[in-house]
Structure formats: structure tokens, C-alpha cells
């Protein structure tokens, strides 16, 4: 028969028992598993980054990396291309373009460029984008010069909206554009245009249109004659003058003003000499008869 040795009774020591119980506590275990590594990592991170040199180095590194990416050739803008602008406008745009090429597309503020171009007087609308191949394309819609506006210090070119595009440098006759003048003339450019088109059928040459009292137009002929048009429906009044001129050859007579302000009652103002002549003629004629 096998001998039975008196067995030594194993028992955990008080401290090992307590340690095991502690390790079996769910909250403690969770703290040990999650909280402790977290706290350690956090502490190490904080200790590492409290040094200002290290902070600076890190910031520098990030900035360098950013720089590296930004200056990659894929992101660089090499060229400025202006579409839909005349040569002088394009020149101006190139002049005002704020960046020095080549430039990274991260740094190019397209919105600012667009606003800057749109602020140019000759530009009505602009859109700016970066095309493949590093080309910055500015698509420009120019204002169309449509009339000349006489102001005190010369002639301005205006578009339909009355915005001044530029000054006239060459002789105005060559530009074949109607001339307008007077206060508030630039606000009624379309009306002036249609009147001027209608006035082309007059035999006499038109010098320009004058806005009076910011409400109605006077047509000034080359000879200095004036056709005063009403506020309402000036077109018809002008046509009427044209008809009168055709039939009666009115404008070739010695008169200074055709007053159409009241359409039902066209009035003419003769020159002083003409009035005297007419007076004499009518008197002599009357005397001869008597």
C-alpha cells in the first residue's frame, strides 16, 4: 500500500490574499487596465511638451511639412492667364495682380484676386480659378463703352449703366459714340442711346444730348440749335421734329430752339436777327400792298 505523506497545507499569506482580492475588484482592474496606461501616456506627453524648445521644434516641423506639401509642383501656380479682356485692361490686371508668380495655390487667395479685378472700372464681372497645369485663369467680362460723357475736365467713356470706364484721349469724333452732358446724364444712358439713334435720321448733324434738370433731354445740333424734348415719350417728340424737318426743312432755317416740351404745341425760337428780318419783311410786304 502506498504511503500517505502528511501533506503540507498551503495557505495564501494575508498579503497575497489581499492582493488577489484587490486584483479581482472590477473597478480596480479597469483602472489598472485603462486608467493607468492613459495616465502614464498623458504624463509622459505633458512632461515631454512642457519644454519650450521641444514645442518650437514640433511647430517648426509641422510648418516645414506643410511647406513641403504646399510647394510641391502639383500645387504651384506658374502663370496668369486673362480671358476676355482687351489688351489695356489685361495690362492693368497684370499690374494689379498682387502675387508674385510662381506661388503655391494654398497661398493664392482667389477671392481677393477676383474682388480686386472686379474693382477695376473697365471690368463688369470676373471669375478666377486655377486650371490644371498651374495656370491661374481670370475670366473677365469687360464693360462695353457706349457713350461719351462730357464733364468739366474733359470727356469720360461710360457704359450702359453709366459707369465711367476711362477718359477720352483721342478725338471724340473718331469714336462714333453719342456725347451726353449735364447733371444726371449718366443715369439715363439707355434713353440717350435710343434718342441718339433716332436723331441720326435728322439731316443736320447732332452734337450731343444734354440732360436738363435730371429729367429730360435736349438734343444739341452741330449748328447750335437745340431741340428741347419732353419728359414723357421724348422719342415721339423727336420723330415729330424729324418729320417737320423733312417737310418744312425746319432746321435749316434761322432758328435757335425747337421747343417740344409741350408736345401738342411745338414752339420755335428764332434767332434775334431772323426775328428782325422777318419783322422787316412782313412790314415791307404789308406796305407794298397798301
Amino acid at each position: 500500500m502506498r504511503q500517505v505523506e502528511p501533506k503540507f497545507d498551503p495557505a495564501p499569506s494575508r498579503w497575497s490574499y489581499r492582493y488577489q482580492r484587490l486584483m479581482l475588484t472590477p473597478l480596480f482592474r479597469k483602472t489598472l487596465r485603462i486608467g493607468l496606461p492613459f495616465a502614464l501616456a498623458l504624463g509622459a506627453g505633458i512632461m515631454f511638451f512642457t519644454d519650450p524648445d521641444r514645442q518650437e521644434a514640433l511647430i517648426q516641423k509641422v510648418a516645414d511639412l506643410r511647406e513641403q506639401i504646399e510647394t510641391r509642383p502639383e500645387f504651384m501656380v506658374q502663370l496668369l492667364e486673362v480671358e476676355g479682356a482687351s489688351a489695356p485692361v489685361e495690362e492693368v490686371i497684370r499690374e494689379v495682380f498682387p502675387f508674385k508668380l510662381p506661388i503655391s495655390s494654398f497661398d493664392a487667395d482667389l477671392d481677393a484676386v477676383r474682388v480686386m479685378i472686379e474693382d477695376l472700372p473697365a471690368v463688369a464681372d470676373a471669375s478666377v480659378r486655377i486650371r490644371k497645369g498651374g495656370v491661374l485663369v481670370a475670366k473677365v467680362v469687360e464693360r462695353q463703352p457706349i457713350a461719351l460723357w462730357r464733364v468739366q475736365d474733359g470727356l469720360n467713356i461710360v457704359d450702359v449703366e453709366g459707369v465711367v470706364i476711362g477718359k477720352v484721349l483721342e478725338h471724340p469724333k473718331l469714336m462714333e459714340m453719342p456725347i451726353i452732358a449735364g447733371a444726371g446724364a449718366e443715369k439715363a444712358v439707355p434713353e440717350a442711346l435710343s434718342l441718339s439713334r433716332a436723331a441720326k435720321s435728322l439731316d443736320a448733324e447732332v452734337r450731343g444730348l444734354v440732360r436738363v434738370g435730371e429729367r429730360r433731354w435736349d438734343v444739341v445740333m452741330e449748328s447750335g440749335q437745340r431741340i428741347m424734348l419732353p419728359v414723357d415719350n421724348p422719342q415721339r417728340a423727336l420723330e415729330r421734329v424729324i418729320v417737320l424737318d423733312d417737310i418744312k426743312d425746319m432746321l435749316n432755317r434761322d432758328l435757335s430752339v425747337v421747343d417740344m416740351r409741350i408736345v401738342e404745341r411745338p414752339t420755335i425760337r428764332m434767332n434775334e436777327n431772323a426775328a428782325d428780318d422777318w419783322w422787316q419783311v412782313s412790314q415791307t410786304t404789308a406796305g407794298a400792298v397798301e
Binding site: 500500500m1 504511503q3 500517505v4 501533506k7 497545507d9 495557505a11 495564501p12 490574499y17 482580492r21
Partner: protein, 444 residues
Amino acid sequence: MIELYESQRAMRNMRKAALQRGVVAVLDVGTSKIACLVLRFDGTDRLKEAEGIGAMAGQAGFRVIGAATTRSRGVKFGEIDAMQETERAIRTALQAAQKMANIRVDHVIACFSGAQPRSYGLAGAVELEGQLVSEQDVSRVLSSCDVPDYGEGREVLHAQPVNFALDHRTGLNDPRGQLGQTLSTDMHMLTVDSFAIQNLAYCVKRCDLELAGLAFSAYASGLASLVEDEQELGAACIDLGGGSAGVSIFMKKHMIYADSVRIGGDHVTSDISMGLQVPTATAERIKTFYGGVMATGMDDREMIEIGGETGDWEHDRRTVSRTELIGIMRPRVEEILEEARSRLDAAGFEYLPSQQIVLTGGGSQIPGLDGLASKILGQQVRLGRPLRVHGLPQAATGAGFASAVGMCLFAANPQDEWWDFDLPVDRYPARSLKRAVKWFKDNW
């Protein structure tokens, strides 16, 4: 009495807290082994209410998630003999059980088998204040029981109301809400040596645990190994332990008597050790392998090598026939059973309607015990094994774990004890003034 009421109540509150937390340990401090089970309560109490599951005895609500046993040291006759050793043994068992459960346990319910239990039957009667029996009336009738003088240095371990009677109707389980005049009760009170309780509490406290309940191990074994109809009709459970044999009598699902015999399996072992002149460890081994109580002709021819290591060849080569071994064991087992019989007789067990006797505990595994027991205890003897509970490891399903399993049931659905009812109102000092005023009104 009030003090005891308070301490037991505190323990009950602790047990409630433990159940709320869901984990509680059960500790069976025995003479030969210390067993520890860790229970998890997962709150499936609703199963109890479903019909037909009542027979599950409330064990649906918990699960055993850790179990460990260790050899007991420092415990004699079911009482703590050497504190340090016992504490170490408890620590060993608890640590292993905790490790298996993988959860920390803070509350423990313990049971022990010794400490000279004494049973008392108390009776009390009280006139109802109103027509209806209220909770107050129940606590009044419980506190009206005349408590015998159970002596110095003893403490009440169990005080369970066993029966309520309302006027002439008796056998009520729950008299609350019923109509009547006089409410009377029968209470079973079990007292034990207070030193045993204090020692155990101290050991448990030394292990950083809270003692959340105490029970007598014979009571726990009865809960585990008696089937429901036996508990209902009346039966005795004899828990043959290592150092003592616990006896408990159940009736109407209540324990009505408990006692313990201070002889157990260890005495059988020491008999063998002395008779065969072998060490105790060898004697224990011979007992468990070849032990028996009924000799047959076959046993004469079965020779057991005893062995030894004295160096004397003649001494170390001895053999003994199994009949001789049985001859050593049988008188001691007979003595244990006769002692138990005398305790049962003293309790008036023969007047019970059913006289089933269930043998359980580690000692009940001796082959042929049922034959011997029926000669001494009567015909209605069977060997009992504990109830199967959820998650109990196979190794812990034997008869030796009856009280540990019973403690699980005790933890899961404890029976009402006297301290579960509120103190009657007139015990409170606030009421005494009112009573004085009432007395004045009545008399002047």
C-alpha cells in the same frame, strides 16, 4: 434579547445588500473540510412566480460560479479550536473560490456544525387589537413568546415561527389579513455557544469579509437533502460529518428541532489508527478505500495491505482482512447512530406523522451504512444527496456538500425569522408616554 435582535437584523440587512450586489459566498466550516461556494444572483426571481416552478425551491435565482474546498485545520467537533489555522483554511478556500468565480466577494454566509445547539419550542398568544391580523400583531405575538432562560454565554442562532393559530384554526403559515380574536404562535428557537459564533465572526473578519448570515449546518443539510414532501410531512436529517453528526427534524417545511452529536468520522479514523497502529493519514485512506459496516464472507478473504515506514519489515508488511476493518469501524458508527437515535427520541420524533430519516454528509458514504442505519433508526431510512443547483461542479455534488448546498438555498430564500418582523410598537420608548397618558385617562 433586543441586542440579539439588532445584531441579527444587521446581518439580515447585510445579506440583503449582498443579494442586491448579486454576489455572496457560502462558507461551510466543517471539521474535516472547509467548503466555499460563490453564488451569483442574477435576479431571475420572476421564475419563482411562474406556475409550476415553485418546486424548484427558489434555486432558479442563483448560480454557483465558484467552488473550492480545502482540508480543514484548527476545527474540532465543528467548533473553531485554533483561530489562526482556521483563518488560513478559510482564506485558502475563499481565494480559490474567488479565483474560479473571477470576482471579488465581500459578503459571506457561514455555517458550522458544533457549538452544542439546544432547541426550544416557544409558544405565545396575544389578543388582537382589531379584527384583522396585521403585521404589528404578528410581531407582537412573536415577542410575547416567553423566552426560557437559556443560560449565560449562549446566543440565539435561529428563531423561526413555525406555526400560527388564529382562535381555533391552527397550521396557518401566514395569518396576516385574516379575521379573528386571538393569535397564537409556536416558535422554534435554537441557541448555541456564543463563543463559537464570536470565533467564527472573528475569523471571517480577519479575512476582510463581512459576515452576512449564520446558520446551523444540520439545518442547511436538511434544506438541501430532504425533498419537499419529506420537509412537509416530517422527516429527520442526520448529517454525518467529520467531527460531529448534526440532527435536524423538519415538519411543515420548518425546522422544529436540531441537535448535534459530538462524534463523527474523525473518531472512526482514529479508531482505525489505534486499532491497526497506523498514522491517521493512512487510517483515513484505508477508511475511505476499504471501509464498510456490514461484513460478508467475501470480506474475510479480502486482505488489505496496511504498509508503514518504520523500517521494521515485519511491521511494514502487515495485512489485515476487511472484516477486521469493518469490525473496528462498525461499533463506532453504531454509536453515532444510536446517539442520533437517542436525540431523535428525546425530541419526540416517533410522534411525527411521517418518520423518514435521511442520512447525508460525508459519513453517509460508508458502504452498507443504510443497512446498519435501518437496524438502528427504523425502516424509513434513505441516503440523501444534496439538491442539484445551477452551476455546481461535479466534485461538489457529493453527500459531503449537503450543508454547503443547503446554505445556497438558505441564502436564496431564507425562512422568516423572528427578527425579520419589526419590533412591536409598544417596545419603542416614544409609545410609553402615550401609554402613560392612556393609563391616566382610563383611571381618572
